[in-house]
Symmetry: C2
Subunit: 278 residues, 2 copies
Amino acid sequence: MNPVLSHKCFGGLLTVHDHDSAVTNCTMRFAVYSPPQAETEAVPVLWYLSGLTCTWQNVNEKAGIQRYAAEHGIMVVFPDTSPRGDDVADDAAYDLGQGAGFYLTATEEPWARHFRMDRYVVDELPGLIADMFPKADMDRQGITGHSMGGHGALTLHLKHPERYRSVSAFAPIVAPTQVPWGEKAFSTYLGPDRTVWNDYDATKLVARRRTDAHILIDQGGSDQFLAEQLRPELFAEACRHAGQKLTLNMREGYDHSYYFVGTFLAEHFAHHGVTLKG
Amino acid sequence: MNPVLSHKCFGGLLTVHDHDSAVTNCTMRFAVYSPPQAETEAVPVLWYLSGLTCTWQNVNEKAGIQRYAAEHGIMVVFPDTSPRGDDVADDAAYDLGQGAGFYLTATEEPWARHFRMDRYVVDELPGLIADMFPKADMDRQGITGHSMGGHGALTLHLKHPERYRSVSAFAPIVAPTQVPWGEKAFSTYLGPDRTVWNDYDATKLVARRRTDAHILIDQGGSDQFLAEQLRPELFAEACRHAGQKLTLNMREGYDHSYYFVGTFLAEHFAHHGVTLKG
């Protein structure tokens, strides 16, 4: 499978690939940054899940993420944020449909056929990565993400702690069942039964699925979505109750942009490195 | 003058400003990254000149440049690449008109009224920076740039070595009088007399204006513009003849993108830091 695009960067190689997904029933695009260490040795794999409207491209172009991957010798996989294409259901709003997959398995129409991003990330893409990148050590995986992707990282870790041994998030949607973004997406993709929603809500999940991981979250204090959509205090409180280790850094003056993500990536790679490279 | 935009980033502040320029006779937009050190002490100033089609935005969003500025305590100024606006002459081509100012003073019509980017960068914007940013130490300035901006950095340093004490460039257009991009722009903006062009050509300038600076250039070996438009060997040869100190790093496998620029920014900031922070 030849890459669609390829850029040398910080001594490693960023490659972009298309493939036909049996899970989302459409062509999916993803990117992989292979650090220079992967030329000669097995390296851990970090999953980076992006936020609303994004693709593999945003964090690769806007956050300098390859530098940290190269420093730590960690391969990074960047899935898309939803299925895409003319045959795939969509919505004019930026927070629904293509670009807004929310890392769940939709049960409602017209979404159910394609919108299965949790299964795509957990069940299908890892096999492809293992096949295509023989130096990817699939026994050492971590997961992180931004905003909607932070929601993805936290929920996938809590459901698959043996798979994603390290976890962190940037300005994650920690309690989608209690905020407008999540209520809109979950009611559309999952229907009106809110008990089903709880399975995709990190704040609900941690109460019954505490893991041994130390969760790292960074959150900008001047993030325009903080009070209405993100509400990290709900997750912090749930972690406290559950005995889940959490470091929640509130970063004064920082917003929701990739300027914020880029600023704290170094600390997140260090965090994942402790577990994955121990 | 309130910023149009502001992002906290790596502990410092990126701000974007509009002002009415008396040199280019239009509203100009520029950005400044103030490192955290500038809250309490005077800091050196590095000018970053961007390439064709770019604005302040590209290198700020795509290269993680603020990290290095914060590490070294250097303020960075990002001028636009041309005058802009409905009243400003333009061309449908990406390499002429708005976004393609080439850091020169146009003498031909319809360009002469607005296209004066060298005078704007050298004569007008520094006064504004000094007024707006009292911690900017205008006695310690350096200059760098990418592609067309590398041409700007080299030529402005060679003409004003007392002003720009340190200089570097990423994939610069070193010999515009001998390559298609430069021939097109110079004949359009400056007219047919090629002797006039020489004043804006680093390879020509260095022969008669050798400076004491050590020039640093990085160039991707897989840059799609290398053989036709960039031709760094012409400048290297001229420097050798003139006795100008030059380090020209050919970087195997790297292209012309911000992935390339971002990879080597750390070394360029270290280079400027040696001179500007001594």
